[in-house]
């Protein structure tokens, strides 16, 4: 059985002028346990909406999302989320306290959550930074806290919404490499949203391409059959890039022809 199954999922919003604008329609996808799925698409195609529905922050207008065969309703700790910016971190808690936040919510004793949080702190390479506050850490380190915070809760799937989008190219490349290693080490299932083709090919075991918004849907899914060492100069890589770029480029052009930007 698949881990997650989207069947005919749609979402529309009411604008302030009272019009109903579709953000997503007829979205169908199955996610396998332990896979690293990257969802790629131009801005405004509804990919963040999908994450929001999957996390349970919002409910779909049509269709349903099943997790282990059970329909999703609301948030739950079996779906961990990593956000793009740093404004989800608790500024009054240290790096370690942020990581153990989810464990504390479960009222586990300190004896248990402390060592566990330390374990995840080390996993994301933040040794020695445990007593620092988020404001004292760099953008890359803050994203590491978010990853560790979500993983420490041992969710069934990790949802990541362009988590490296605000980082500089150098840091982003490092983070991508390490995220892949973490994925290998923890055997976590990851659903990763991005608009960067390189990022999708570097990270994903499958890449889903969205059609242009507003009211986008899944256009096609491409299996990335490459090892862990993925180099941009690799011929296979170049091939994948060309294929995906064609598909995405087509969508971007279509989106460009429409004037309105979705909400």
């Amino acid at each position: 059985m698949s881990l997650i199954r989207f069947s005919n999922v749609g979402k529309s919003y009411d604008t302030q002028s009272g019009r109903r604008v579709p953000a997503l329609r007829g979205f169908e996808l199955e996610l396998k346990r332990g896979e690293f799925f990257c969802l790629l698409g131009p801005s405004g195609c509804g990919k963040t909406t999908i994450l929001s529905l999957l996390a349970g922050f919002e409910a779909p207008t049509t269709g349903e999302i099943l997790l282990d065969g059970e329909p999703i309703s609301g948030t739950s700790r079996d779906r961990g989320v990593v956000f793009q910016g740093d404004n989800s971190l608790y500024s009054w808690l240290t790096a370690l306290e942020n990581i153990e936040f989810g464990l504390r919510l479960r009222r586990l004793p300190r004896k248990i959550y402390r060592p566990k949080a330390m374990e995840y702190l080390r996993l994301v390479g933040l040794d020695g930074q445990q007593d620092k506050y988020p404001a004292e850490l760099s953008g890359g380190m803050k994203q590491r806290i978010q990853v560790a915070r979500a993983l420490a809760n041992q969710p069934k799937i990790l949802l990541m919404d362009e988590p490296f989008g605000a980082l500089d190219a150098q840091t982003r490349a490092t983070m991508q490499r390490e995220l892949r290693q973490i994925w290998r080490a923890t055997e976590a299932s990851i659903f990763f949203i991005t608009h960067d083709i390189d990022e999708a090919i570097t990270l994903g075991s499958r890449v889903g391409i969205m059609s242009a918004g507003p009211g986008g849907t899944l256009q096609q899914v491409i299996e990335i059959e490459m090892g862990d060492e993925r180099s941009r100069s690799d011929l296979t890589y170049v091939d994948y890039y060309a294929r995906i770029e064609r598909a995405v480029g087509h969508e971007v052009n279509r989106a460009g022809k429409r004037i309105q930007e979705p909400v």
Binding site: A55, R79, F83, S88, S91, W92, F101, L105, A135
Partner: protein
């Protein structure tokens, strides 16, 4: 050896620097105030109705020696702090609830928006009628003057919490109550503290007015008696004490914030 010398110089510099940046500006600023006051009263106004600072200091010293000033100070401070903490203790949860639940806001906002425009000083008469001339009336007025500022600031603080901060906690499995105590409350601390500082200043204003109407002791009583018996020096002692106490209370509050609430990123 040279390392040792360098270290010593470093220590000396920081010590001197701390003194210079910490206390010195206050000393200079207060001295300037007293010099200006002195010059104004000796050369400009030349009236017994405007005593020079030295005369006021002498009077203050006399009142301190006799113990009268302490009694008045304590009486006022007691009312202020009782009312201030009670008002904050009530205002913070109300503000958090208003900020967290839109339905509660719509229900409670008319009350707060209506009442906060009636100044505490306007309620003095009614406080005397309701509570008599005892302590309750004065504490009630301080609570009243504190609570709305704290409510408004707290609610504004909750409203400013970023959506992702709330969502992250939900995705980590937080319950309603945990959202309230572990996210909304700590995230709002800077706003609460700012509200409390403003409320403290209000408390000083209100207590003087309240004590002028009816009280056995207090700095407001001292002012009022000074007016009745033409004790200009007493009036100035009371004013000076009010200013200094307010200043000290605010400094202490800020120091407390820095010491205990530093991690919440307060604006001091």
């Amino acid at each position: 050896m040279s390392t040792f010398a360098v270290t010593t110089i470093h220590v000396k510099t920081t010590w001197a620097f701390r003194l210079a940046s910490g206390i010195l500006p206050y000393l200079v600023s207060f001295s300037a105030l007293f010099i200006a006051w002195h010059l104004a009263s000796i050369y400009l106004v030349k009236s017994i109705l405007f005593p020079p600072p030295i005369e006021v200091f002498v009077k203050a010293w006399e009142l301190l020696r006799s113990g009268d000033l302490e009694i008045d100070m304590l009486a006022s401070l007691q009312r202020i702090f009782l009312g201030f903490f009670l008002g904050s203790a009530l205002g913070i949860p109300i503000g958090l609830t208003i900020g967290s639940f839109a339905s509660v806001r719509r229900l409670v906002e008319p009350w707060t928006e209506f009442l906060r425009f009636i100044p505490a000083t306007a309620l003095i008469t009614i406080a005397v009628i309701w509570f008599g001339i005892g302590e309750e009336g004065k504490v009630f007025l301080i609570v009243y003057t504190t609570i709305f500022i704290v409510i408004l600031n707290t609610a504004a603080g909750v409203a400013s919490i970023h959506k992702n901060m709330t969502r992250a906690a939900l995705a980590l499995g937080a319950t309603r109550w945990q959202m309230y105590t572990l996210v909304a409350l700590p995230a709002t601390v800077p706003f609460i503290l700012t509200g409390m500082r403003l409320a403290m200043a209000n408390s000083f204003t209100t207590i003087v007015a309240a004590e002028m109407i009816s009280a056995p002791h207090g700095l407001g009583v001292m002012l009022w008696n000074g007016r009745l018996f033409m004790l200009v020096d007493d009036i100035f002692v009371s004013l000076l004490t009010l200013g200094l106490l307010g200043f000290a209370a605010d400094r202490l509050f800020r120091m407390g914030i820095y010491r205990f609430a530093h991690r919440y990123g307060p604006v001091t």
